[in-house]
């Protein structure tokens, strides 16, 4: 790096140009969308993207005229509960596969693997009927209960748990810890990184649910943000583009902040769990 010969500098300049150009392309949709969110819809409709009538009006109307806050709140609750539930249930079943020895263990593990081959999208009709017969339509529970656990999460945590040093188990046996104590006090803290990764993964997964909430929610009391945005676009009438873009911006900014903060975990954790 200390060697500043011409070609190295040229190469570096070229790298930066390429890096910047790609960043611009990737970020362009954000910038265009967010810029539009500050413009009056009429200017947008006329194609006047360089209008100078910049204001926060669209944001004000998104917050006051639409139930976007309610949608956000619903989604955060559902995604948070789903995340904690998956952390608990996936880690429990992963624990059973790694630290317990029982009959049909292999068979049950294969069952878990098989569930990863069965797409939820193919099962919406009977699942709708099940939720209906449980009386949970249009309820947070409808969006949470089917996703309390996940085969992928179990599989991922199992891979991680298997790396737990045997000494820890031996030591805890000597200490006289039972399985619950060993699970809670040793295994979970030891596999913190994998747990955080699964947490982020299941949170984002729940956050991005689209089809299932669309089928099972019927009012703003339980409607989630992904479906809510669609509601802002009307059927036969005119679209308030400015406000729609403002709503999109309102939703995307928090997730991006969460992501930037959690990025480090996510990258290392995903690689961990995924390819071992």
């Amino acid at each position: 790096m200390a060697n500043f010969d011409e070609s190295a500098i040229l190469k570096r300049v070229f790298s930066y140009i390429l890096l910047i150009a790609l960043a611009v392309v990737i970020l362009a949709p954000f910038f265009i969308g967010i810029w539009a969110s500050f413009l009056p819809t009429m200017d947008i409709a006329k194609g006047d993207l360089f209008s100078t009538n910049v204001s926060f009006n669209n944001y004000v109307s998104a917050f006051t005229k639409t139930p976007i806050l309610r949608y956000l709140a619903n989604t955060v609750v559902i995604a948070t509960v789903t995340m904690f539930a998956q952390l608990i249930f996936c880690s429990m079943s992963a624990y059973a596969f790694v630290f317990l020895k029982f009959k049909y263990q292999k068979t049950i593990f294969s069952l878990f693997l098989i569930t990863m081959m069965l797409p939820f999208e193919a099962e919406i009709i009977p699942n709708f009927a099940t939720i209906k017969s449980m009386g949970l339509l249009d309820n947070y529970a409808a969006l949470i209960i089917p996703f309390l656990t996940s085969a992928f999460g179990t599989f991922m945590l199992r891979q991680s748990f298997m790396q737990t040093p045997a000494e820890l188990k031996e030591a805890s046996d000597i200490e006289g810890l039972n399985h619950f104590q060993f699970y809670w006090h040793i295994v979970l803290p030891y596999n913190k990184i994998s747990m955080i990764t699964l947490g982020a993964y299941s949170f984002l997964g729940a956050w991005n649910q689209y089809l299932w909430p669309m089928l099972t929610t019927f009012s703003n009391n339980s409607r989630v943000i992904q479906n809510g945005l669609k509601q802002l676009q009307s059927e036969e009438t005119f679209n308030d583009w400015g406000m729609i873009q403002a709503s999109a911006a309102i939703i995307v900014i928090p997730t991006i902040i969460v992501l930037f903060v959690g990025q480090h975990y996510f990258k290392s954790g995903m690689n961990e769990g995924a390819v071992k």
């Binding site: 194609g47 624990y95 029982f102 748990f161 996510f266």
Partner: protein, 313 residues
Amino acid sequence: MLKTSTTDVVPEKKVQAKQRQGFKLNAKDKYYASIFLGPSLLILGLFVFYPMIKTLYISMFLTNTLGNTTVFVGLGNYVKLISAPDFISSMMVTILYVVAVTILTIALGLLLANLASQKLPGISIFRTLYSVTMGVSVSVAAIFWLFIFNPSTGFFALMSGWFNLPVVNWLTSPANAMWAVIITTVWMNLGFTFLILLGAIESVPRTLYEAADVEGVSSRYQFFHITIPMISPTLFFVSTITIIGAFKSFGLIDLITKGGPTNATNMLVYRIYKDAFYSGNYAKSSTEAIILTVIIAFFTLLQFKFLEKKVNY
């Protein structure tokens, strides 16, 4: 292989399943197993296994206006479906979409990851920027891109105006609408793919590159003969994930094209939804669902087969 976590610090002795064969079955474990596994098994049974069987059952009947099964037709729905030209074209469209999305996602992800793996001042800013689409949900992506594709006020339309080019009908011509959906999907996938590939590239031992530099090997050669082979497991993993994800695409289609124009983007999952929850033909929808399951199962198995080599269970 990719070790970035604290597990590195701990010495080799690990609890491997195979080493643990010696553990004896004991009654206590059985009790614990039922507690630890019970909840998950219950949920999976109720919301994965049962509905799969039920879907298979429905697919062998006709269903009436209220969605109840009425006339048993055996495999009749399947025969009808695979001989229907519109279903065949739907499958072709789905496959085209999956292939295009996968190739573009991986190629662009690799390009970005390779660029961002350079040791340059300020590179971490670019890493953050490149992963930004991971925080974008389907609805937001659709709204941003719909605005860009809009034929009269969209950004692309404006741009063609500046350069006096003809306006491309992104959403109304069948071929272009497909590309509109592909572009949006790839854009959404990019952040995640980039991040994983970057992690993989960073874990390639530096010594390999240093040795190559000493030999005077070009960086292009290094990329294809060191980087690619070294990260091939991750590449494979990302590809299967992308393929499976693309087969299950729904939200973007619902928001951008609704399966049109001329069914040009009417992909499998969208059909499943539309046939059931628009048209009320639950039997047809179930038949399509079973076909989707077969496809997803195939690619998941492929992934397992590969993981099997890497993982012991």
